[in-house]
Each structure stands twice: as structure tokens, then as C-alpha cells.
Point group: D2
Chain length 332, copies 4
């Protein structure tokens, strides 16, 4: 289950402190203009160490295309991309080798696999999302050809929506040795009606699964989201006239299929689990202990989740766009 | 995309006003005791026409097992189940044949497929969920053998949590020719640690996708959900001691893998789109019109979504339980 | 693994002596004219009891469409079809309940599942192929719209190619209480170039897997087949000029992708394992015994495999045809 | 469709003359001892330039593990492996840029994708199989833990089975500027009964598809293969007594499920399509021309297909072994 998508299928690999991260995209349509220059900017947005409020691990995150592109265009064969880990300092994690960090996947990986790469969280590290962002950039390239654009914005940090106030929240968290969460909104504009499938392959179901698969995400809403649960039908339904829909409470999806209106999703991100404050936990041997997480960590991962959330929306929509081709066998 | 699951794979079929609904489960482990008596009670809970506040279409919803069971036990071959439609009155829908009902999938199905079974919403009808509930009952049977129990509860109707008040909200909606939504919580107890997969197959991602695939669901939360976005790390992290986790803000999942604590999810359900109040819309020919939906409809689908949400959680967990067998090749 | 195909996905169910057999097709393109009349003739060809040389179980094999068709056209939602078992006489098999029949799947099912529906072979019965033939008829309908026709022929029975001689071979086998095998050739005409995928999804690989999945098939060849292993490159390569390929040693597939020439495959079918001659075997309890199979059996299954082989080729090609739509995103 | 397998899923990438080839294995069970030393010997067997009778392109084919292994054991996360192309001399192929080589995938790739990497066959090159062999070596490591060993042998070259005569056939082909094919047998010993699935996932169907997916393979047989079509049931059925099966005409598989006897498959390999003899063909512009293929080519690919055929059998069986875990939910 390191593969995402049905027709545009991305398989990612790599650990935080292994030699490299990467992704293989199977099903990228042939004839798409593509080079590293289409992908690097998205990685640069996600990259750590960009400003004083994020993790200081200075990874260059240079992407290299290994296959599937010939003379500047995709050929229809798998597009493999690799990002080398340059600044992995595994020894930083020696003291965490035998401790289950609260809020992290340490305990659950051990329970699942009976073995665990403890260095920087191994596969469960946020670093894994670099491969998603690279794949998302290819998807965005496809969507751009179809006139679809994806954007995202931070709505709140620790309950504060004002940008200056948000920065204060992060600074306070750093000062306290604590961390904060926040809320992100992602939007797709220009999406044609008809994308998505009924029943289990509903577009909103795929988007919800895609966004919830990002580490730290605890909630997903489409359109009105939970607010719809407190409305009446007459308030929530989107009426239509010849100009189109008169509102967009549905968030661009009805019956799991795109309406043509903007697709709007919101995600709630938990506070970074790595904090300097002391926390009770267990060692891998089952002993009680208290841990204070040191080392390089973001006090708030929301800004770094933002490009990942956009990437996941790109992956879902590029896949749905290609899938929709199948419905056209007898429609043309 | 009418198939759900990886190892316990359910493929559903059927329209609201066709001859029958059904499901084929491929990957049900052999040796499970199973009969119609294990499934019928779940269907009875979802069934329409049970009380004056729900839709009066009086479907008996009797399930029949067609394959995969021999002398009271599953054989490992596909378990097919069928539910005949008895009370389909297609003529009720004649006047809606050329109208896109607001809040429904009428417009989007037409855009996607270029053809549409308008009778009762066709495949997009809530009636499709009968097949999910039947499959979910088989999944629940598997989970029961593993000591896992699923339960669900209504938290709110139209923002009101008090049971009497909730009923009033529904009655008022009926009187107004309107409808209301609500919030449901589902819980899995007894789930062992280690279920779920990293990255795209995270257990919370699968649950979010599963719940969002139910018609009318607009939001999903795991554990603290959106509230986590307003907490600090020290408030949200679940500390551990020898007795286990000291809290369950995570909702039983860390890094996409079950912790052993209760798995807790919440879903926000929109108000029923079918309302008697007049609404602006378009005809299939593109003409503006005003529609007042008549016929048999629930003023609030939340009570009927409840067993479906439980069923979907059962499907995700039974699948994850079987998938986890694969990790044990070299662990025993 | 009771599902076949990627875009045109058929999930079959049912046992020889259960209530019914059936298939759910997910991914049938919308807008295809379809009724039971398109499917029944194919089932009639496969049906048992048609002539004195085949099994006398007189099943009517009437197919019923349960979903996915509205007013004579497919809607894009799952097409479910059911065939009821009418003439199941389970008691015929009582004496085989505790015996592993040589050449049958009795022993292997028991080893795999630890439980086994012994009645007529249960799921391993050739009766399962009725569902494949029904699905294949829908696929053939799609192919017909694209100008592709599938045909099949018996090349040999027990090494004899002359039709009269073949019939003698079968009669002799009956007289001896024995059985015979044979060879079938299936051909697809009118297939456009470009179908199939490189590497693991090669069209010939899919065809080989599809044909080998039919009970009793022990060998598959494409084009020259094993004879190619005894040729030189200059003898096997198909040269081209403006009129197209000058020969078709490749059997219509190069690099796993259709060339536009006829697709030609051959299958070798083993003799029916059920014979009246005495055979050494074991009981389910591990005791040695000798079995003489009585009851209703074909002395030669080749004539009944023929429509199944055609159906499987239809399924592969319809799936490939729909899949190929995905390559056209940027080609139009 | 560059992914193979259900539970042990291998996704390969890379072109003959791109920067690298590679494979990502998703679903490798945790806890398996693994290093490059387990994989390199298999690659060395497949490597070009090893003796005067094979292609002189001197690729070192060094494999590097990029992820999924920690302190000498697999962790359950994706195992990515990369093999750099060192000796790619793309300019060798300049003159073939606009010519469809007979017997190659040049024409069909162009028809499918509308674009083609002509350098050395691009993705359709036999070089792609290096990634399969690397993945197969990991699979073999899993099988070894379960006591299963895979071996393969060349049965014939150009119809000759005597080893000295076979070499003469290849030398003659070189002298003539021609090429020859041959037949390979692969065997799995120690396979437990119960592997494989009924219907479409039959073990023989998966093996047939796997072997036919190797470039140049035109026929596949299991056990008696086509010879079974000329036998009687009493000759082909494998009787049993307490010591087990008394013969193995079935090739170790009944009803698609392993019997516990040796699994035996044969593949027919066509002669290398690249020959120096003149052949009629078309240019990409549709003009008639005559081509004589120069450059580095094997006169007979059979010796190099051998380790690939073994690798594919390993992949099928490792996958089936892991899949079979699922049947054990209620069997222990």
C-alpha cells in the first residue's frame, strides 16, 4: 500500500535516513512535456530549513528523473524520480532507538512489523512526503493541460487566522518547547463536471482518503463539511439556473462526481508530536520512562503540509481525469 | 470502482428501482460460521419504513446467500448475497425524469455517463447501501471472532444532542417541507495494535475514504479531529505507561496503524437533499424550472446512515485484519 | 481473485450445486445497447446436455440481467447477471464426499481451505465458466462496436484433426470409460494496433493467463508458439511493406502490443479427469482406495471449452480496448 | 501495468539507454535477512557480455538497495533497488530512429503511444529484465526460508537438445547473420500444497502470464502441456497413494492450486529479432525500406531468458506464499 491511484499510479519508497526517497509513476499519459524544472519548484516549497520557524535540516531535495521521459516528453512508460538524502544524521536518533515517542508511529510500527528503522521515524517520517510532492507536480502538469489549477491556503494556526497572530503562536510554541496545529484549505478550479465514480470511488471519498493519508491530518471536510450537519436542506442544497450553480455548499461534488464548481476541501492538522516538554512513555523493552525530544523538528508542520495537501489533490484529480477517458468509449 | 477492500473485497451492484441489489465478497476467509441469520438483523436496522419519521417505502430487504457457504461455513470462495427490490414504484419518478434535483447526483451522473437511470436516483440512491450493510455484517462476524466489536451512536441532529430535542428537529423539518442533517460517532473496541499500513494505506485514510463514500457525508474526523488543530502537542499527544495509553486523542491510530486503543471516528451528514420546498434548477434540456420534491423521502437520513457507517468501519477493519496476516510470514 | 480485468472488471461467483452462478461487470462503458438476447446465445453454446457426446445434466442456463442496464442501454454502473442452478442433484456426489478424485481439485482445495464443497466440484466445477461466458458476451458486444470479431475452432481431438475421426475418438473414449483431450485455436480479427501494455501487462501475457485460467488447459501458444523456438529469426520475423505485414508468425502481437494483424492463440486441453476406469487415490482421512467415477460427465470437454476460450479472449480485448483510452489524453 | 503481483508487488522502471533501471517491491514481509549480496549473483547470471556468444555490451549491472532494509533485515516498507546504465551508447541507434525493425516492438509502441524512445528499444528492451531478476532474487530469498527452490534448464536450442550441438546452432546463426530460438524448463521444488487461487488467480494462470510477459516467449506449458491434449484421462491423471502422487503429469498444479509435487513449466522462446540479414520494413514516415540490423545483439537470447524465467517463477510463488497467509485467519 505504498501505491496511490488507479490509472495514474504512484509508488513511493524511502526512509528518512536511508540513501534516497523516490517515486515511480505508472500510467502517466504519453506526450506530456516534462522536465525536472516542472517538479523542483514544488519540492522547494516543501523543503525543510527554509525559514527560522521550520526544521533546520538543510536538505537540498534535488529531484532527478530516471525514466519515462524522452526528448522532453513523457513516453507512456514509468516515470521514476529520485531524491537523495544528503543531510541524514542518524546518530541524532541514537538515544531514541529504544523509546516509543508519544504521538509518533514508533509504537505502532513495532507492533505491526516487529522491526523498526528508528532513525528519524524511518518510513513514517514526514520526509516521505517529498516523493508525493514530486509526483503531485507531474499530476499538476497534466491538470494544467486540462485547464485545472490547484491552490491551497492556511486558514488557521492554533485557532488563529490572522497571519501575524499565527506567527506569534508558532513562536510561543517554540519558546515553550511545545508545538501547534492548524487548518488548511485546498481548492481545485476549472475541474470539468463528471469526474469521480459512484459508490466506493466517489471523488470526495478519494480526496478524503488522500488527505487523511498525510501524517498529522485528523479531519477532512468537503464544502460545508461538518457545518452541513447543522443546516437544513433548503440552506445546504445548491440551486441552479442557466448561469450554473448559485452557491457551492457541496464543495464541487455531488454523488461523488464533480459538478464543475470549485472543489473545496479542508484539513485539520494536529500539532507536531515532537516536543521538548517531558512526556511519559515506554521503552521498547516495556519500561516506563520520560522523554524530552531534542534535535531538528518543526514546531508547526502546517506550512509544510500545505504543498503536500495540494499534491494529494493533484494526484486524485489527475487520476480521475484519466479514468474518465474510459467512459468515453461510446460517447464520441 | 464498485469494489471495496484489498483482501476482503466487496463488489456491490444494483439500482434503486432495478430488480435487485447485491454484493459479492471475494476473499472471505474459509471456515467462518455464516448464515442469513447473521446478516438479516443488520439489514433490518437500515431498512426503510420502520418508523413514522423515516421513508415509508416498505421494503422487506430479505437477504439471500447465493454462494460461498457450505454446511454453515464459508468455503473461501466468493460469498454472493442478493436482496430483491419488491416495492419499486418507478412511476413515482416520472415527473423527475427530465429534472436535475438540487443536492442530488442527477446532474453529475448525466455529465459523467451521458445516460441516467432517473428512477429513485438509480445507482446513486441510498438504497445501494443495503448491499454495504450486508457485506458489513459478514465483516462484523469476522471481527467478532477476533474480539473486535463495532458500535455507533448519533451525537447530534441539526446541532441538537438531546434525544428529545433531536426528534423535535426532525418533526419541525417535516412540517416545513425541509430536512436536517447530523453527526454520527462510530467506535471499534478490541482492535489489536498493528492494523493498517503506512503511507497511502493508513488505517485512518481508509476509514476516512470509507465513511466519506457514504452518500451525504461531508466531513470525517479521527480522534480529536479538527479540535486537534487548536491544541498544543503537549495537550494532544497520548502519553503511555505500563497500563497503556493514558488518553486517546489520537482515536486509536498513530502513523496510520492501530494502537490498540478504541478507534473513534465522527462523520458529518448533510440534510436530505429531497425537500418539498421549491428550489430553482434546470431540466435535462437546459431550461430553468422550479422543483418541489414529492414522494417517499426521509426528512433526516442520519438514523439510516448510522448502520451504514458501522458497516463501512467493519469492512475496513476486517480487511486490515486479513491484510495483517501477510506481515506474519517471518514473525512466527 | 475471482475478479478478471483492469478497466472491464468481471467478478464471478457460484458453485456447481449452489443456488446460482453469476457475474458482476464493473467498468462496462455507458451507452452500450444490451439485453439478455445478446448473452443467451453464447450461454446456449456452452450449455451441457446439448448432444449425446456431452454431459446429460440438462441445465437451461437462462441468464437474467439484474442491474446496470436502463431502457436497453448500459448506464456505466455494474452489470450483474445471474444464472440459476436448476438441475443440481447433489446426492449424486454423496459417495465422493470423502474421496479425492484424481485429476480434480478435490485434494488441493482441501489443502488450501481446510474445507470443501464436494458437490460436483463446487467452485472448481466447469460450471463456473457459465459466468465467464455471460461476461464474455458483453465484452463481445463492445468489441463488435469497435469492429473486432472473435472466433474459435477445434484443431484436434486426441491428436486427430479430421472431424469424423475426432468424433470416433470421443466415442471410443466413452466405450472404454476413459476420456480424451484436444487443441483449440482462437482468433481475433479487426483488432487495431496499439492494444496491450509493455512489461507485465503485455497483451500476450494477459491472453496466456486468461486462457490458462480455464480448467483443463495445460498449454498456450501465441502465433508460431513453440514452433518459433525451432525457427531462425529470418523465418520467424514478419516483414512489412505498405500493404502491412507480409506474414503473421507473431500472432498479431509484438512487444506485448497488438500489431493490427489477426491475434491467434492455441490452447491444449487435457482429457476430462472424471473417468469410469478404476484409479488409485486417497480418502480425505488419508486411506488408500480405488475410485470409479460415475454420474454425468463429458468424455471430452474440448467442445465446451471452446466458447469459454472465446469468452476469455473477448474479456482480455475489451479490457485492453478500454484501457487504451487512457493513452489518448494528449493524443487528440 | 509495470506492477506485478498482489501481495508481493514489484513495480519496475527504466529504459535501455536512460540513466537507470530499477524496481520497487511493496509487500516484502518484514524480518527477512537481505543485502546486495543476495541479489548480485542473480544479476551476474543475466548480465550481457559474459561470453563470446552473447551481446558484447559490457554492463556491470551493480545493484544498490535504496530503502526497506535496516541493519540487514527487511522492515516491511518498500524495497527499492537501482541499477545504473553505464555503457549506453545511444548513438549506435541513430540510424534506427526512423525505422520499424521487424520482430521488434518499434511499430507497436509507435501505434500505442504516438511517441517512442528508439534507443536500444527503450522500455521494450530485454534490459528491462534486469529489474525483474533483482526482484526475483528477493523472492527467491523468501522462498528459500520456506524450503522452496527454483531451478531452470535449457532443453533445446533451435530444436537441438545436445549441449555441443546447441552451441553449434548458435555459431552457425552468427555466421549467417541470423538468430535462433529455444526451449526452457523451470521447476519449483518443495512447494507446499495449497498455493494459488481458484478461477482467474489459478497458479498455472499466473505462471503462464508471468512467463509469457518475458520478451520473446511465444508458448507456455504446465506439466504435460500440449502433450496432454493427445492423452487419455487414464494416462494423464496422477493417481495417489499414501506416499503421495504416483506421477506428475499435472506439473504440480490441480484446479489452479499447488499439489505439493514439483511445479514444472516450459517456455518456447523465439529467435532474436535483430539479425544482420536484410529485411523489408517501413520507415516511421510510411516508406518501404530494407534494414540490416548492426550493433550489439545476442544471436540467441535463450541463455539470458533462463534467469528471467526463473525470476518470474520466484515472483509468482513468493506472492502466492504470502497470499496464502490470508486463508489461515480461521485455520489456526
Amino acid at each position: 500500500m505504498n501505491t496511490f491511484g488507479r490509472s495514474f499510479r504512484c509508488t513511493t519508497f524511502g526512509e528518512s535516513h536511508g540513501p534516497a526517497l523516490g517515486v515511480v509513476i505508472d500510467g502517466c499519459p504519453p506526450g506530456l512535456p516534462l522536465s525536472e524544472d516542472d517538479i523542483q519548484p514544488a519540492l522547494d516549497r516543501r523543503r525543510p530549513g527554509r525559514d527560522p520557524l521550520t526544521s533546520p535540516r538543510p536538505e537540498p531535495d534535488r529531484v532527478e528523473i530516471l525514466s519515462g521521459v524522452f526528448e522532453g516528453r513523457t513516453t507512456g512508460t514509468p516515470v521514476a524520480m529520485i531524491i537523495w538524502n544528503r543531510e541524514a544524521r542518524a546518530s541524532d536518533y541514537d538515544e531514541l532507538r529504544e523509546i516509543f515517542r508519544p504521538g509518533h508511529a514508533d509504537f505502532t510500527y513495532q507492533m505491526k512489523y516487529g522491526i523498526r528503522d528508528h532513525r528519524g521515524g524511518g518510513r513514517s517520517s514526514g520526509r516521505e512526503t517529498a516523493a508525493r510532492v514530486a509526483a503531485g507536480a507531474v499530476a499538476a502538469r497534466i491538470l494544467a493541460e486540462a485547464g485545472i489549477t490547484i491552490s491551497g491556503t492556511i486558514e488557521e494556526i492554533h485557532g488563529v487566522s490572522d497571519p501575524t497572530g499565527r506567527e506569534d503562536e508558532i513562536k510561543n510554541a517554540i519558546a515553550e518547547g511545545d508545538s501547534v496545529g492548524g487548518i488548511i484549505r485546498v481548492t481545485a478550479r476549472g475541474c470539468p463536471p463528471g469526474l469521480g465514480d459512484p459508490v466506493f470511488g466517489k471523488l470526495d471519498a478519494l480526496i478524503a482518503g488522500a488527505l487523511m493519508s498525510i501524517g498529522g491530518v485528523k479531519g477532512v471536510e468537503i464544502g460545508d463539511g461538518f457545518a452541513a450537519a447543522r443546516k437544513k436542506g433548503s440552506e445546504h442544497n445548491d440551486e441552479m439556473d442557466r448561469t450554473g450553480f448559485l452557491s457551492n455548499h457541496a464543495g464541487g461534488i455531488l454523488g461523488g462526481i464533480s459538478t464543475g464548481a470549485d472543489i473545496v476541501a479542508r484539513v485539520g492538522v494536529k500539532p507536531t508530536p515532537s516536543i521538548r516538554k517531558p512526556q511519559k512513555t515506554l521503552t521498547t523493552g516495556g519500561e516506563e520512562t520520560v522523554v524530552r525530544i531534542q534535535g531538528r523538528h518543526d514546531p508547526c508542520i502546517v506550512p509544510r503540509v500545505l504543498p503536500v495537501a495540494e499534491a494529494m489533490l493533484c494526484l486524485v484529480l489527475a487520476d480521475a481525469l484519466i479514468e474518465q477517458q474510459k467512459c468515453r468509449v461510446f460517447q464520441e
